[in-house]
């Protein structure tokens, strides 16, 4: 295996790892947020409008973490600044 093959392999592996690990964390966070919001709505159905708005904003905040990981994975794959050192 030459240098370029190893580089491509490592980049693909790291991109897959980044998206995998980067979506596990936000998934746990989002599920906890949704659990609490559903609990709150079940206790106080009158406040469901306000709760779901706050939930949406919070979910957007948590989701941006997963999106960061996706963007970094895409940078690793397609716009890697170090790929020019390894092109044959």
């Amino acid at each position: 295996m030459d240098k370029h093959t190893i580089f491509v392999l490592v980049a693909m592996l790291l991109a897959a790892l980044t998206t995998t690990l980067g979506s596990i964390g936000p998934a746990i966070g989002q599920s906890r947020a949704i659990i609490s919001a559903l609990d709150a709505i079940a206790r106080q159905p009158d406040a469901s409008d306000r709760i779901s708005r706050a939930l949406f904003v919070g979910l957007a905040m948590i989701e941006s973490l997963a999106i960061y990981c996706l963007v970094i994975a895409l940078i690793i794959l397609f716009a890697n600044p170090f790929s020019k050192f390894f092109t044959p």
Partner: protein, 224 residues
């Protein structure tokens, strides 16, 4: 790499300026919105029409959301936020049309929108409370936190841009991958999801804008 799905595609050049698909489709979005608005405007002069009722319903609904989120009077920044919401909503849905890409699937568009919000926050803050009053909220609760406050300003702008870009672009990428692997009708459920996420992303972008603007006007801490 230049012909990739999420890198820009150049249609033609005017001198040194490269006209990309993003620019063209942003203009299409603006044309759709301005066209609809002028139809409503022309019809409004005559008598009460269905178009006017629909437009007023939309604006009043958005204003009600803003009033709930800002806990103050959202009137001063209603035009900015409603324009952002409508532009992003229409832009996200434009990607569903065959042969078109959503302009928000380009980081340049979303970065420009985020910079608008970044500049609007001090504008409305200074207009509401004066320069000294606005600058003072950086020193609360303690002057020690000044670097954190400044970093927050920049990081939330970056987050606004990357969140919208990542969501829209990843949806388009998933559809493109599905289309290349499977058949014609397989990406249809995914495209239904795009309708939902496109509207939700427009909602989230404008709600976060309202939160930041009302925090600047009221001098309280906003979530970053």
């Amino acid at each position: 790499m230049d012909n990739n799905e999420f890198f820009r595609q150049i249609v033609f050049r005017i001198g040194p300026i490269e006209v990309t698909t993003t620019m063209l489709y942003s203009l299409v979005v603006s044309a759709i919105l301005i066209g609809l608005a002028s139809v409503v405007h022309v019809l409004m002069a005559r008598r009460l029409s269905d178009w006017q009722v629909a437009a007023e319903f939309l604006i009043e609904h958005l204003e009600a959301i803003m009033r709930d989120m800002s806990a103050g009077d959202p009137r001063p920044y209603t035009p900015l936020v409603v324009t952002l919401a409508l532009f992003i909503g229409v832009a996200n849905l434009l990607g569903l049309l065959p042969g078109m890409r959503a302009p928000t699937a380009d980081l340049s568009t979303t970065a420009a929108l985020a910079v608008v919000v970044f500049l609007a926050v001090p504008f409305y803050g200074i207009r509401a409370r004066g320069l000294a009053g606005y600058l003072r909220h950086y020193l609360k609760p303690s002057p020690l936190l000044l670097p954190v406050e400044v970093i927050t300003e920049f990081s939330r702008t970056l987050a606004l841009a990357v969140r919208l870009f990542g969501n829209v672009m990843s949806e388009e990428l998933v559809i493109a991958v599905l289309l290349s692997m499977a058949g014609l009708l397989v990406p249809v459920p995914m495209m239904m999801l795009v309708v939902l996420t496109g509207i939700v992303q427009a909602y989230i972008f404008s709600v976060l804008t309202v939160v930041y603007l009302s925090a600047a006007v009221r001098a309280e801490k906003a979530p970053s």
